[in-house]
C-alpha cells in the first residue's frame, strides 16, 4: 500500500494541473473542480479504488469541507482519504454520483446538514429534515429555534388557518418582535471537566 506522500506524487503526475497537499494522513485537493478527474483516476488506475466508503461534510469555521474515504474491494487495500474545501457563503463541490452510486444519499445528507451543494447530483434535496426546512443544522453557527415559543410569523400563520391564539402567547411574540430577537433554544452547556 502506497504511503500518502507517494500517492500524492502519483496523482499529481497522472493528472497534470492538480495540486494536492498533505494534511495529516489525508490528501487535500486544492481545486474542487479537479475532484472528478482525481476520483476517476483513483477508480480506474491500478490503484483500483472502486469502493467509496464514506462521504462526510465538516465545518471548520472558515470553510466547509467534504471528506471522502476510498477503499479497494479487489485489492483489499486501505483507506485513501481525500478532502475538498469550499467556502461557507456559496459552497459548491462536484458530485461523485456519476462514478460512485453510493455517494448519492451521502451527498444528500451533507447537503441537508451543511448546505454543501453538489453539482451534478441527480436529486439533491433534503433527506433527514423535512422539505421547506430552513437552515443547515450541523453547522457550528446554527441557531435552533425554540419549539415552545411562537414568533409573530407563526402567530400570523396560525390565525390565517383560523386558530385562535391565546393572548399571553401573542403578547410574548409581539415583545420578541419589538426587541428584534428570535426565539432560540438554549444551547446545551458544555460538560465541565471533572
Amino acid at each position: 500500500m502506497l504511503s500518502t506522500a507517494d500517492l500524492k506524487t502519483k496523482i499529481e503526475a497522472a493528472i497534470p494541473g492538480t495540486t494536492l497537499k498533505l494534511v495529516r494522513e489525508s490528501l487535500l485537493l486544492e481545486n474542487p473542480n479537479d475532484l472528478l478527474k482525481v476520483a476517476r483516476f483513483l477508480k480506474e488506475s491500478d490503484l483500483g479504488l472502486d469502493y467509496l466508503s464514506s462521504v462526510t461534510g465538516a465545518d471548520y469555521l472558515t470553510y466547509l469541507e467534504s471528506v471522502y474515504h476510498f477503499y479497494s474491494m479487489a485489492q483489499k487495500s486501505g483507506p485513501v482519504v481525500l478532502r475538498v474545501r469550499t467556502d461557507r457563503q456559496n459552497p459548491q463541490i462536484p458530485s461523485l454520483t456519476a462514478l460512485y452510486r453510493g455517494a448519492e444519499f451521502q451527498e444528500r445528507e451533507a447537503y441537508d446538514m451543511y448546505g454543501i451543494v453538489y453539482e451534478g447530483h441527480p436529486d439533491l434535496r433534503r433527506v433527514f429534515m423535512w422539505e421547506g426546512f430552513e437552515g443547515w443544522p450541523m453547522r457550528k453557527d446554527y441557531q435552533q429555534e425554540d419549539s415552545e415559543t411562537l414568533e409573530m410569523a407563526d402567530v400570523a400563520w396560525l390565525e390565517n388557518q383560523g386558530v385562535k391564539v391565546p393572548e399571553p402567547i401573542k403578547a410574548k411574540a409581539e415583545e420578541l418582535e419589538k426587541q428584534g430577537k428570535r426565539a432560540l433554544a438554549q444551547k446545551p452547556g458544555q460538560p465541565e471537566p471533572q
Partner: protein
C-alpha cells in the same frame, strides 16, 4: 391522491392511470418509521422513492457537545439491535485517534460479544423477513427463543439486555466470569441444532423459494459502485468482509470462511445470513476456548474510568470501521484537542444500502418490494441517526 395519466402501453391507444401510494411510515412491515413513495401501475412498481428522517435525532451534533465517553451510550441506540457492534466501532475509532493499546483479553471479549451480536441480528432478520412474507410470526418466535438466551448473557455481563454500553476506550468495562463463559459454551453447543430446526421449514420451502428466488437481483458491479456492504454484498458474489480485509482486533487469529452467494436475489441474502451464522459459531468456539487471562482495560485509560470527562485525545482524525451484522459501520472522529469531538460522523450501513432499493424494486410487485426491503435489513436507528 395524485394520479398521473400517461400511456404506458404503446402509442396512446389505451390510457392508464398510475396509483401513487405511501407505504409507511406507520406500517407493520417497514421495520420502523420509514416511508416509501411508490408509484404503481396495477400491481407493478414504476418508481419508488424512500423518504427518511422520521427518527432523525441528530446524533452527530449531540456528540459534538458530549465528552467522548459520554457518547458511548448514544452509539448503543444507533442500531438498537446490535449495540455491542456499535460500541466496538466507536471504541476502535477513538483508540486509533488517541493511540491506545487494548489488552489481549479485552480483544477476545470484544470479538465474543461482536459475534454473539451477529448471531442475534441474523436470526432476528430472518425471522422478520419471514414475517413480511406472511408466515405470521412463527419463525420470529423460534428465533427469539435463542435470542433470549444471548440477551440474558448480555444482561449478566453488561447490565442491560439491549443497550449494553459495555465497551470503553482501551478495553471493556466489566470482566467475563468463568460461569458466563461456560454459559456461552452451552449456548454454542445447542445453537447448531437450533439452526437446523430453523432451516428445515424454511430453506427448501417451496412457497419461500417461489417468493424469494429471482426477486430483487443485485448485480455485483452495481453493488460495489453503490457502496453496498455486508451480507447484501456478499450475496451478490463480491468477496469483501472487513474482518478479513482489515484484520482488525485479532480476527486474523481465528479460522473462519466467508460465504458468498451467486445470484444476489432475496433468497441468496437469506441463505448467506444462515451460513454466516455458522461461521460465527466457529469463531465463538475458538474464542471461548482460547481466551487468555489478563487485564481488560489498558493501563493508560484506567484513570479515565473514574473521570471520563477529562479524556482529551490529541489533535487529529481517525476513521475506523467494523463488520457490523448489517454491513460496514464506520466512525469518523475529528478531535481538536478538547474534551469534545470537533466532528463525529457515523457511516451507517442501512442508510447506504438503501441507495439501490429503487433499482431493485422497479418492475416487481408491491409484495416483492416489502420482502426486498426486508432482505436489505434496515434499522431506523442507524438509518436516520
Amino acid at each position: 391522491m395524485t394520479e398521473k395519466t400517461f400511456s404506458l402501453h404503446g402509442a396512446g391507444d389505451m390510457d392508464t392511470q398510475t396509483l401513487e401510494i405511501n407505504i409507511g411510515p406507520q406500517h407493520p412491515s417497514t421495520h420502523g418509521v420509514f416511508r416509501m413513495n411508490v408509484v404503481l401501475d396495477g400491481e407493478t412498481i414504476v418508481s419508488l422513492k424512500p423518504v427518511m428522517g422520521y427518527l432523525h435525532r441528530n446524533h452527530e451534533q449531540i456528540a459534538e457537545n458530549m465528552s467522548y465517553t459520554g457518547s458511548m451510550p448514544y452509539t448503543d441506540r444507533l442500531d438498537y439491535f446490535n449495540s455491542m457492534s456499535n460500541n466496538f466501532g466507536y471504541a476502535m475509532a477513538v483508540e486509533k485517534l488517541a493511540n491506545i493499546e487494548v489488552p489481549e483479553r479485552a480483544h477476545y471479549i470484544r470479538i465474543i460479544m461482536a459475534e454473539l451480536t451477529r448471531l442475534v441480528n441474523h436470526v432476528s432478520v430472518i425471522g422478520f423477513l419471514l414475517n413480511d412474507l406472511g408466515a405470521f410470526f412463527t419463525p420470529v418466535l423460534y428465533a427469539f427463543r435463542e435470542r433470549e438466551k444471548i440477551l440474558d448473557i448480555f444482561e449478566e455481563v453488561a447490565g442491560a439486555r439491549m443497550m449494553c454500553n459495555y465497551l470503553r476506550f482501551g478495553g471493556v468495562k466489566y470482566d467475563l466470569s468463568p460461569e458466563v463463559l461456560a454459559r456461552i459454551a452451552g449456548i454454542l453447543k445447542k445453537f447448531p441444532k437450533f439452526l437446523e430446526e430453523f432451516e428445515t421449514l424454511l430453506t427448501k420451502n417451496e412457497i419461500l423459494c417461489m417468493r424469494c428466488q429471482n426477486v430483487g437481483v443485485l448485480p455485483a458491479e452495481l453493488a460495489v459502485s453503490a457502496s453496498v456492504t455486508g451480507p447484501m454484498l456478499r450475496a451478490s458474489g463480491v468477496n469483501y468482509d472487513i474482518r478479513k480485509a482489515d484484520n482488525y482486533s485479532l480476527y486474523e487469529r481465528f479460522k473462519f470462511r466467508v460465504p458468498l452467494g451467486q445470484k444476489g436475489d432475496v433468497y441468496d441474502r437469506y441463505y448467506v445470513r444462515i451460513l454466516e451464522m455458522r461461521e460465527s459459531l466457529k469463531i465463538l468456539e475458538q474464542a471461548v476456548k482460547e481466551i487468555p487471562a489478563g487485564d481488560i482495560m489498558s493501563k493508560k485509560m484506567v484513570p479515565f474510568l473514574k473521570s471520563p470527562r477529562n479524556f482529551k485525545p490529541p489533535v487529529g482524525e481517525a476513521y475506523a470501521r467494523v463488520e457490523a451484522p448489517k454491513g460496514e459501520l464506520g466512525y469518523y472522529v475529528v478531535s481538536d484537542g478538547t474534551a469534545q469531538p470537533w466532528r463525529y460522523h457515523v457511516r451507517a450501513p442501512s442508510f447506504i444500502n438503501l441507495t439501490i432499493l429503487e433499482d431493485l424494486c422497479i418492475g416487481q410487485k408491491v409484495a416483492d418490494a416489502i420482502i426486498i426491503l426486508g432482505s436489505v435489513d434496515i434499522v431506523l436507528g442507524e438509518l436516520d441517526r
